[in-house]
Structure formats: structure tokens, C-alpha cells
């Protein structure tokens, strides 16, 4: 594997003494696309907000976040300001409220161009127009003078993407970029992100609660549960042979596209609250394969070959069973 572009090691975040992230280890290679999946509150967004130093002051962050070997955690503000938008850009869930309502679209794009590419005046405006063209906004020249409230949600998300592209980042973190949008627009935005990744060669981290979204757009998927990555694998492999019971539960909750109709299975129970985490595996109380050893200690990640890893003491067993079933 090539040297990672971004490398998170033991990343922990606590809000008012309550741990929200319990040690995230994650590498993103240059140009790679990684999906981060899990239910709301599992820490997918917090991971990347913490990595870029965007969490509010009451959050305590520890561990390590390295970009090309340079430590970002608790780095000086001027270092972070150059990284944010310049090397790692981020777009967010609700495009309508993520754009400043009192600045025109063009101004908000040009601000990023000025910060990261030193552009100004007509040159910056021309580049901003090109970016709007690139993200598929019709009549870009006129849209530069529009206000965010004059555009639709999908168009605003395209503007957000244009702002993110303005700094020519090496990694784009898209935090639930389509959750607030209509289904048809969702697909367009995801396709756009794929095309842009192909054209620019930047890496993409796609955060979503929707396994389907991630499976289509990412080469590799990380499944998060209660502040940890519990399983990661190449997308196809994860869907073929999920090793962690939580992942299996998530897949069981997806309606199948082919074959006979079946009852969707829900995972019983709920995510444990941060102040009531079980001592062992956080998923153990809801797990159908639970044995007493699960409660002893937090399970280590087990390598299952071909980049597939899972934090479950019974992972090898489930995978072997699956492979036997497929054989």
C-alpha cells in the first residue's frame, strides 16, 4: 500500500467528559474513496471535524491526525487554516444553512480562491465561474451574483462542492452530502462527486448513514459503531462477507433488490449511551452471537485478508461459515 495521505491513530474525542470517539485508526490513501457508515451519533462526522480542528472548545481531542506525516491535532491556527480547504476540504449535510446568507455565491467561492490560490479580481471571478460550470450549475456567470436563498438545496450543495474544489484539495470529506436532498438530486450529487474524483485525482471520504450510498461510490467501507470502527473492507467484500454482526445487521435491514420479498430484519435494542458503555464489545448487548467472552474486553481488530478487518472475537467464524455457504 502507498503511504497514506491522511492517517488517524487512536483518535479520541470527549464532550464534557463523555467519550464520543473511542480510538479511531484510519488511513486514507491518495486518490482513494472511503465510505464511513454508521447510525447517527456513532461519531462519523465527529471524526473528521476533530481531524480538522472544527469541534467546539468544550470537546477534548487526543490521539494523532497526520497529513503527509505532518501532525494536525493541536496544530497552530495558521497551519490548520492552510490545510482546511487547501489540502482537506469538507462539505456538510445541510447546504442551505452551510452557506453564509449575507454573502453572494461568487464571493464565497472567491474567498476560498483568494485564501488558497492567491487569486483576485477578474481572474478569481473567471475561475469561480469555471468551478460553477464544473459542478454543473447552469448559467454560472449570472449565478455568481445570486444569494444562497435564491438557489435550491441541490444547487447550494453544488456551490458548496465548488467552494471545496476551489482550494484544489487532496482530500474531500463529504459529511452526509445528500441527506437533506431529494432522492433524484442525491444520485446527481453522488455521481458528480465520483466524476470530480476521477477528474481531479483527489481522495474522497463519504460519510453516510446509508450503506447503499456508500457501496455505490466507495472502494472501501468502514463501519462505525459507538465511537469505533468495527469493520472495514473493500466495498464488494463487505457486502459479500460481512464479518461483524453489526454489519450483518445493517445489511439485513436493507431491502434486497433481487429475489423474493422478505421481512426486513431490525437490530434489537439501541446504541448504548456514552455514560453506560459496556466494558467489552459495545455491540454485545444487542448481538445474536454474543458469548460471555465478548464482555471481557474490547475486541481487537482481526485481519481477515484482502484488507478486511473486523473487531469481533467471532469474526473468523462468521466469515468461514459464509465462505462455506458460498462454496
Amino acid at each position: 500500500m502507498t503511504a497514506p495521505l491522511v492517517s488517524l491513530k487512536g483518535l479520541r474525542v470527549a464532550f464534557d467528559e463523555q467519550l464520543a470517539l473511542r480510538g479511531i485508526d484510519l488511513d486514507v490513501a491518495p486518490g482513494e474513496s472511503v465510505g464511513l457508515v454508521g447510525e447517527s451519533g456513532c461519531g462519523k462526522s465527529v471524526t473528521w471535524l476533530a481531524a480538522l480542528g472544527l469541534l467546539p472548545g468544550r470537546a477534548t481531542v487526543s490521539g494523532s491526525v497526520k497529513l503527509d506525516g505532518q501532525e494536525l491535532l493541536h496544530a497552530r491556527p495558521n497551519v490548520l487554516d492552510r490545510v482546511r480547504g487547501g489540502r482537506i476540504a469538507m462539505i456538510f449535510q445541510d447546504p442551505a444553512s452551510s452557506l453564509n446568507p449575507v454573502h453572494r455565491i461568487g464571493k464565497q467561492i472567491i474567498e476560498a480562491l483568494r485564501l488558497h490560490r492567491g487569486m483576485d479580481g477578474p481572474q478569481a471571478r473567471a475561475e469561480a465561474k469555471r468551478l460553477l460550470d464544473q459542478v454543473g450549475i447552469p448559467d454560472a456567470a449570472r449565478r455568481l451574483d445570486a444569494w444562497p436563498h435564491e438557489l435550491s438545496g441541490g444547487q447550494n450543495q453544488r456551490v458548496m462542492i465548488a467552494i471545496a474544489l476551489a482550494g484544489r484539495p487532496e482530500l474531500l470529506v463529504a459529511d452526509e452530502p445528500t441527506t437533506a436532498l431529494d432522492v433524484t438530486i442525491q444520485a446527481q450529487i453522488l455521481t458528480l462527486l465520483q466524476e470530480l474524483r476521477k477528474d481531479t485525482g483527489m481522495a474522497l471520504v463519504l460519510i453516510s448513514h446509508d450503506l447503499g450510498v456508500v457501496a455505490d461510490s466507495c472502494e472501501r467501507v468502514c463501519v462505525m459503531y459507538a465511537g469505533r470502527i468495527v469493520e472495514q473492507a473493500p466495498s464488494a467484500r463487505l457486502f459479500e462477507a460481512p464479518a461483524h454482526p453489526y454489519t450483518r445487521g445493517l445489511l439485513g435491514a436493507l431491502p434486497p433488490l433481487h429475489g423474493p420479498r422478505r421481512k426486513l430484519s431490525a437490530i434489537p435494542g439501541g446504541v448504548p449511551e456514552p455514560w453506560a458503555m459496556p466494558p467489552g464489545c459495545a455491540f454485545a448487548p444487542r448481538c445474536s452471537m454474543h458469548v460471555s467472552a465478548c464482555d471481557a474486553a474490547v475486541p481487537e481488530q482481526v485481519g481477515l485478508g484482502r484488507g478486511h478487518r473486523a473487531s469481533c472475537i467471532r469474526a473468523t467464524l462468521t466469515v468461514t461459515q459464509d465462505q462455506a455457504a458460498y462454496a
Binding site: L52, R84, G85, G86, A89, S98, W147, E150
Partner: protein, 313 residues
Amino acid sequence: MIRFLGSRLLRAAITIIMVVTFAFIVLRLSGDPAQIIMGADAPPEAVDAFRTAWGLDQPLLLQYFHYFGAILQGDLGRSMRDGRDAIVLVAERIPATLALTIPALVIKLGLGIPAGITAALYRNSFIDRAVMLLAVAGFTVPSFVLGLLLVLVFAVQLGWLPSGGQESWRHAILPIITMGVGGAAVLARFTRSAMLEVLGQPYIRTASAKGVPWRRVVWGHALPNAAIPTVTIIGFMVGSLIAGAVVVESVFSWPGVGRLLVVAVANRDLAVVQCILLLVAATMVTANLVVDLLYGLLDPRLRNQPKRAAGVA
């Protein structure tokens, strides 16, 4: 734009008419000016003569129409006390009042807004708590109490400044501080909460995420948004430049519009009271009109008839 301005002007006119009418009715229901001005032991014939001279013997409705008709012709009546035009009497006092209220406004803005912004930026820190403690104290203490307190300390105890009157600029210091502190406290609290509200918005996170330095995030992204609600309060402050000093002028015996109002009400000097109230209503309404126009300037979402972009993404 024209339609917007037209409807606002119409509303402003209605507000002023209501204030004038209300003042007219209340003043006449709350005591007989003839009796008060002539004194309790004046002979009844003299009181009757006074009533006839000022038209107070006519039916109320007729008096109202006369009064209103006169206003429309620019005649605001004469003082029943010294017979001069009420407007002249009031106009004489305006510079004295503005000499207090304008510097006080400068203090309110210059102290309140930076204090509120600082408190918001250092939320829950020592600075925030200190500013908020002072602000709560500043706006819960009534101005006459603060005024008397300042007099006690700086005039009586220390003897640095005079306690009342209008002989020199030094006489203005205590009343200006009294008014400025209370207003600054209100503005500090308001600015702080407006800033906190804005700083929690997703677009502030977006600005940070695209690498805008924090200072620029505050000045370029947060302040223009926080200014929108704050302008309302500032509008009220500007609107009360003329009549906002009633209590303070009384405490410090400052011969401004406020004290004239107190004296005129006590004397039932109808024309003078009505003239002041009309002036107060007019300034307040004008300030509000300006605030409405500023809203449009500050917030593109409030400009009329936004042309929604056609089509979806």
C-alpha cells in the same frame, strides 16, 4: 421598493395619529387644565374665562377636530402657561437634551457592542462572566438609582463633579454616564446573544472549514449576520434620543425636553405635552423606518420579491 416605502410611511402616519389621539384623550380625562393652571382658589369666573379663551368649553370631539386641523396646518398650539408657541418652547430644549443623549448613545454603542462581541467570543470564560455580571447589574439598576449613586460618590463624597444643573460641560458628565451605562448593558446582552446564535450556525463552520482565519470568520462572516437583530435595539436607542432622558434630566436638573415634559404634564399644559409626544412619536417612527430599510440592506433574504432561481440542481 416604492410600494414597500409607501406602506411603511402609511403605517408610520397611522402610528403618529394614534399617539396624538391617545395623548389628547388621556390629558383631558385626567384633570381640568383650567383649574390646575389658575390654581385651586381662583374665582370661578376667571376659570370659566380661561376655559372659553382656550376653547376648553367646547365639546371634546370638536376640540379634537380643531386640534387635528391645526396640526395639519403646522400649528401645534400655544403653551397655556406663558402663551408662546409650544413648538418654540420644545425646540429651545432640544439642544440641551441632545447634548446628553448623543454622547450617551456613543457610549452605549462604543461600550455595549464590543463588550457583547467579546463575551460571545470567550463564552463561559472569566471575561464572559464578568461582562455579563456588569451587564445584568447595569440594566437592572434603574437609571434614577444609578444617577443618585453617581451623585453620591462623585459629587457628594469625592466632590469631583457637580450634582446638577447645566452651567458647564462638567455638569453633563454624570447624566451622560448614567444613561450610557444602562444602554450599554442592554446592548451588550443583546449583541452577545446575537453573536452566540450566529456563531453556532453551520455557515460559520463552513467558513472555518475552507480555511478562513478565525478573525476573518468573526468580522466577515459572523458580525454581518449578528448585526441584523442588533440593529433593532440600536433603532430604539436612536428613536429615543429626544425623549429618552426624562428621568435622568429630572435627577440632574438638566433643562431638556424631558424635564419640560414632566413640568408640562404636572401643569396640564396641554399643547406642550402634545407637542412633545408628537415629536417623540415622529422620531421613534422615523428610527423604525430607517431600521426597516437597514434590514433590507443587511439581509438579502428580506429584500422584497426575491427572484427564485428556476429549476432544480
